[in-house]
Amino acid sequence: MSEIKRINLFSKQKKYLKIEQYFSWFRTAVIIWVIGFLTFIGFILISLFQQQQKLKTLDLQRKQYLAFLTRNNQIEAKFIFYKNKNAEFNNIMTNDVNFLPYYRVLNESLKFSTSAALLNTLTINKDRNTDFSILVEDYDTAFQFIKYAETDHFLKNFEALTLVEFSSQLNTKTLLTTTLDNQTRLITLSFKG
């Protein structure tokens, strides 16, 4: 008796069900993918639209600003002219010796140190290099001034200060005859700063 060949439809059922399940997930994933894609397109369109809107607003603003500037260019020109002149002015003033403030500061400092010290000479150039000499009548006053010259109160007026000469001679000059006795000494302290 010949054996009848039969297809067993249920033998691989478990495997087919698994495959069917995978494809079901695949379909769901494709749908999510499509939705995500459409959302992305929406995002792109909104984002680009917003950017374009912002560009339009800014461009409109720019045109308004430009129109205002064009209407008032004469006023702006005045400011520019002033600023140019101001820059030239400040640049030129750097070449000036600006003597008087330094003279006053030095004189005030001398008065503060000792009333007996007199400013004899003062040379200042535009680079603020200073040479000055002080006249005093005796050694005590001279040392008193040197002591004062070493204090911060005096030195704050100079970046550097050096005593370059200390000379003493009998007072034969007429310069201080009103304040010094003819027999006293004239002591000159020369500084460089």
């Binding site: 087919y16 495959i19 069917e20 494809f23 695949f26 379909r27 494709v30 993918w33 499509v34 894609f37 992305f40 397109i41 792109i44 984002s47 680009l48 950017q51 374009q52 912002k54 560009l55 800014l58 461009d59 603003q61 720019r62 600003y65 430009l66 205002f68 500037l69 008032n72 006023i75 702006e76 020109a77 005045k78 400011f79 520019i80 002219f81 002033y82 600023k83 140019n84 002149k85 101001n86 030239e88 002015f89 030129i92 003033m93 070449n95 000036d96 010796v97 003597f99 008087l100 003279y103 007199l118 400013l119 004899n120 000479t121 003062l122 040379t123 200042i124 150039n125 535009k126 310069l175």
Partner: protein, 235 residues
């Protein structure tokens, strides 16, 4: 060896062919859109940043223009100060204005300028150097040193001063007078009008010769009056 493919799988794959095509198409579109979006977005952002920067600059310039009204309330007239600046640093050298400035300084300080000589060695195309001889007492000399910068109506600088304490002064000083051609077009950078500017303007106006200011205000053409007063005794 022949690979045996399950008919069921083949059928299912065939049924889902549309899905595969769709996913491939969407993937390609997505890559294209990402590239397109990045390019377009960076273009837009660059344009936005550029215009924003321009607008910020324009706003700054507008703010400056609007400042003129505020300055006028504070008695700072740009027209006037520009005329003063032009008088101090004229575009072309005007020898008569130099003589006039020396004359004004002499009258103002009592430090008499007895003679002058042009120092060609120290002069340049933008500055004229003049050596003056002056006489006066200590007070006059110190007053001269206080006012020489602006008091004559021309901007004057001195390179070096050798000062000796004495009762009367007869000294030679080298004065520098300046000229400069101001081009408005060359400066288009951002301008700020600061408190320092106001202080400088007030200082210049207070030291600039009052009679020149009156002449300036009365002159409807807006130019400085260059009809100098004649002097009875030159030096």
């Amino acid at each position: 060896m022949k690979i045996k493919i399950d008919r069921y799988i083949l059928r299912v794959l065939k049924d889902h062919l549309g899905y595969f095509v769709l996913i491939g198409f969407i993937s390609l579109m997505l890559i294209y859109l990402i590239i397109f979006y990045q390019q377009k977005s960076s273009q837009n952002n660059f344009a936005i940043a550029t215009i924003e920067q321009q607008n910020a600059d324009y706003q700054q310039r507008i703010k400056l223009i609007n400042q003129q009204t505020i300055l006028l309330k504070e008695n700072i007239d740009l027209d006037k100060i520009n005329m003063i600046m032009t008088a101090l640093i004229p575009e072309k050298e005007d020898f008569f204005s130099i003589i006039n400035a020396l004359n004004r300084l002499s009258s103002l300080t009592n430090f008499q300028v007895t003679s002058y000589a042009i120092n060609t060695a120290s002069s340049t195309d933008k500055s004229l150097s003049i050596i003056i001889s002056g006489e006066g007492d200590r007070e006059a000399f110190l007053k001269f040193l206080e006012h020489y910068n602006l008091g004559g109506g021309r901007l004057i600088t001195i390179d070096k001063i050798d000062y000796s304490e004495t009762n009367s002064y007869s000294i030679k000083i080298k004065l520098n007078f300046y000229t400069s051609k101001t081009n408005i077009q060359t400066v288009k950078k951002m301008i700020n009008f600061t408190e320092q500017d106001k202080k400088l303007i007030k200082k210049i106006e207070s030291q600039f010769p009052a009679e020149m200011l009156i002449q300036t205000e009365n002159n409807e053409s807006g130019d400085l009056n260059i009809d100098y007063k004649t002097k009875s005794q030159l030096f």
